[in-house]
Amino acid sequence: VTRAVYAVGREKVREYAYATGETDPRHLDPDSARAAGYADVVAPPMFAAVYCAPAIGPAVLDPEVGIDFARMVHGAQRFEWGDPVVAGDEITTVAELEERSERGGLNFFVFRTISTNQDGATVSEGRWTNIVR
């Protein structure tokens, strides 16, 4: 099990929103976000990929799991979202290998992440399927 804390910064949310083509001012403009009831700019849902990275990265690279990184492809991804994430939040993510299987000569490694904010509310749960040829 790996665990990491990610501090959500306003400019990081804006950088992510620009890189992913978001034009909704709630992601980009603190005043618009506040007018919509958020404490600061709100992250797009797929920002989960960013705040999970410090936990899922080491989980995937764990030598005890033994994934050959050069032969790995990202096969599937699922996220389920809870409370919104806004700039200023501190998100704690716990990642672990949930399931390992072999089908047709391919090895499947399924990881789970659970991310919670500083108030203990779940912000997302992720299921990351990596396939090793």
């Binding site: 990081k12 890189a19 083509g21 709630r26 849902p45 990275a53 492809v73 096969g75 991804q77």
Partner: protein
Amino acid sequence: MDEHRSLSVTPDRYLTYRYAGASGDFNPIHLDDEFARSVGLPSRILHGLWTMSQVARAQTEAGGGPESLRSLEVQFRGMGLPEREITISSTVREERDGELVIRCDAEQDGKRIIRNGEAVVRPAGGA
């Protein structure tokens, strides 16, 4: 909300660099054509999670904001390339308790680079 929707987006030449900075994923298969070819790819490829973010954006733009998307599951197939149009298709399959179950995929050059996508959306103004 329409039963069928599509959203088109063409990742520009420098998109993978911006997404690498935004996400922290600097794997050279996304940044360096020469490296990508050395591992058997046609050129540098898009980040799968960027393409998934476009499938997500197609749902939140139709659903009325970031909190409308409750879950999203996708399968990645093949690879996406910069500077070629991607079309995200979304079809409402079911409505239950104010939530829509939406099938979605992403296609580029006639190939589905994301398939079997399923989103659950709770539209801001009701389903």
